[in-house]
């Protein structure tokens, strides 16, 4: 055998015994490691350490690595290697359970299962349940795996260290953790978006728990700039506009307009405007409204904008009223995607009737 690092099994560190090259190909179908140069099979029966295969031929029920496998039926496929190692769980997430087989006394199987359940670590059970919920939230919001893993890590950290989450409603805690993970990985989501997926938690609860977790885990410095990204409407434009079926060119215009509205750097960052300090979703909604109402652009109804962005229509109208006088200058700064004549065709903002 060529000299190789036993621990790593990286094909690139091995040397072919015949020709000395390190160019290998893994044949996953047969579990072989083949040298590309001379064709020698360097390793056979390679153990696949990725997550388990699922063989749907089995009629006994679900096994996804963390749930117990129900007693297998006659056609049960024995090729199960379990789920991927989860280092956050104390035993790595071992999923081996006792299962019956044909002819085995069911009473015995039940007794053994009961014995095994007793040896199970209870802290893990809570973690596993929480991870499952986090997985549900992430898939409902179509978040990437990296966000899910980050959320699981944060949950474990918070579970161990932060006293503040003990006693709060589980839904709100998980929502806050997912929100934190989204922000940390650079995919900020608004509180209202998370609230839509986790209806049992209110925005207020999620916000409160989020702040206390950040404080207790001392993540303020780590979050740093990402907190600013989260509070600028720029981060939400694409998502909102694509949910409203607008064209990609309009996404770019929207983002450019938000940057013109709320410049972060340069001398213009020092100018104070009436729309500074407003919630980023409100500004985003107003920008969508402006672009949607420009002649020739995808037209979207105001109630749809309100629903997607989570903003009231009165808020959009009010911010539109503030922005309207400056629109021409702002659009020029944002790359002149609409002529001044187009801007003139925008609906005129209604004068405010109610006294403050």
């Amino acid at each position: 055998m060529g000299d190789f690092n036993v621990g790593l099994r990286l094909k690139y560190e091995q040397q072919c015994p015949d020709c000395g090259q390190s160019d290998f190909v893994e044949d996953h179908a047969s579990g072989d490691l083949v040298c590309r140069n001379c064709g020698v099979v360097v390793e056979a029966h390679v153990i696949d350490e990725r997550s388990e295969w699922r063989t749907f031929a089995d009629k006994a029920g679900i096994c996804c690595g963390c749930l117990p496998a129900v007693d297998g039926g006659a056609g049960a496929d024995p090729n199960r290697v379990g789920g991927p190692v989860n280092h956050l769980l104390s035993d790595g997430g071992m999923s081996t359970m006792i299962g019956g087989a044909k002819g085995v006394d069911h009473g015995l199987v039940r007794n053994l299962q009961r014995m095994q359940a007793r040896t199970e670590v209870t802290t893990d059970r809570a973690l596993i349940a929480a991870f499952r919920e986090i997985g549900k939230i992430c898939s409902a919001m179509k978040l990437m795996d990296i966000v899910k893993k980050q959320a699981e890590e944060f949950y474990k950290q918070a579970y161990d260290n932060a006293k503040s989450i003990k006693g709060k409603s589980q839904a709100a805690v998980l929502a806050a953790i997912v929100f934190l993970a989204c922000r940390h990985t650079g995919n900020p989501r608004t509180f209202k978006e998370i609230c839509a997926v986790v209806p049992q938690a209110s925005v207020k609860d999620i916000g409160r728990i989020y702040k206390s977790v950040v404080r207790e885990l001392k993540l303020e410095v780590a979050l740093g700039n990402k907190q600013l990204e989260g509070s600028h409407p720029h981060s939400y434009m694409r998502r909102f506009m694509s949910q409203l079926n607008m064209t990609p060119r309009e996404y770019l215009w929207g983002e450019a307009l938000t940057l013109a509205l709320l410049p972060q750097e340069g001398p213009e960052a020092n100018v104070h405007t009436r729309w500074h300090g407003k919630s980023p979703t409100s500004i985003a909604g107003t920008v969508v409204y402006i672009i949607a109402n420009l002649p020739g652009k995808t037209s979207v109804a105001l109630p749809d904008i309100c629903r997607t962005c989570g903003v009231a229509d009165g808020t959009i109208r009010q911010i539109y009223r503030e922005i309207h006088p400056h629109l021409k200058a702002l659009i020029d700064k944002a790359g002149r995607f609409a002529s001044h004549a187009d801007v003139d065709q925008l609906p005129v903002p209604i004068e405010s009737t109610a006294a403050k």
Binding site: F191, K192, E220, G224, Q227, S231, V271, G277, S279, P325
Partner: protein, 238 residues
Amino acid sequence: MADAGPSNAVVPAQEPEVDLSVHPSGIVPQLQNVVATVNLECKLDLKNIALHARNAEYNPKRFAAVIMRIREPKSTALIFHSGKMVCTGTKSEAEARIASRKYAKILQKLSYAVAFKEFKIQNMVGSCDVKFPIRLEGLASTHAVFCSYEPELFPGLIYRMVDPKIVLLIFVSGKVVLTGAKKREDIYRAFEAIYPVLQTFRKGGMIAAPNAPAALLQQQQQQQQQPLPMVGAPARQL
């Protein structure tokens, strides 16, 4: 008169003399609310009190205390069965003490053997205006350890100062609310500590009206025209 010093007297904002040795910034935060507790050391029958005292409300299903109000000094007291009382709504420490004594007097008239022990100011809230707009994102990014700025949740930046242990709510308009103080000096000290920081993150001025030749860039003179001729919107004060 000019010696406003670190005393307990109320310093009204209109008074032109500000002691610059105590308030180098020239701005004095005004106290808006003082919360004090006192132990009357006497078990009280809340139903009896609610029946016989004027301006008392008692709804045991909602809250287990009698809520009593007096007009001078304008304040509200929560009086509990154990004899402990919380007095809120006054504008200074002296007023809080006077108000608490008045409540104790009212209970004394209802023939309860009240004492007046352990009077303690628990919280003081002050507010002031630095008169210039502030760049909250800049402040949040530089002082990330102390700041929490979530415009989705709350329009103000929450600054938790460590020494003195005060929480400041800082708004874009330049208004600042300070809370969590047990002593008036803490509020003054906290404001003096934050004032230079706010000056660092001062914004240039309000955006120019669109019919001005230099549409977006800013001059100092524009600051005076605070209520700009905009379509309809009245000047919003926070």
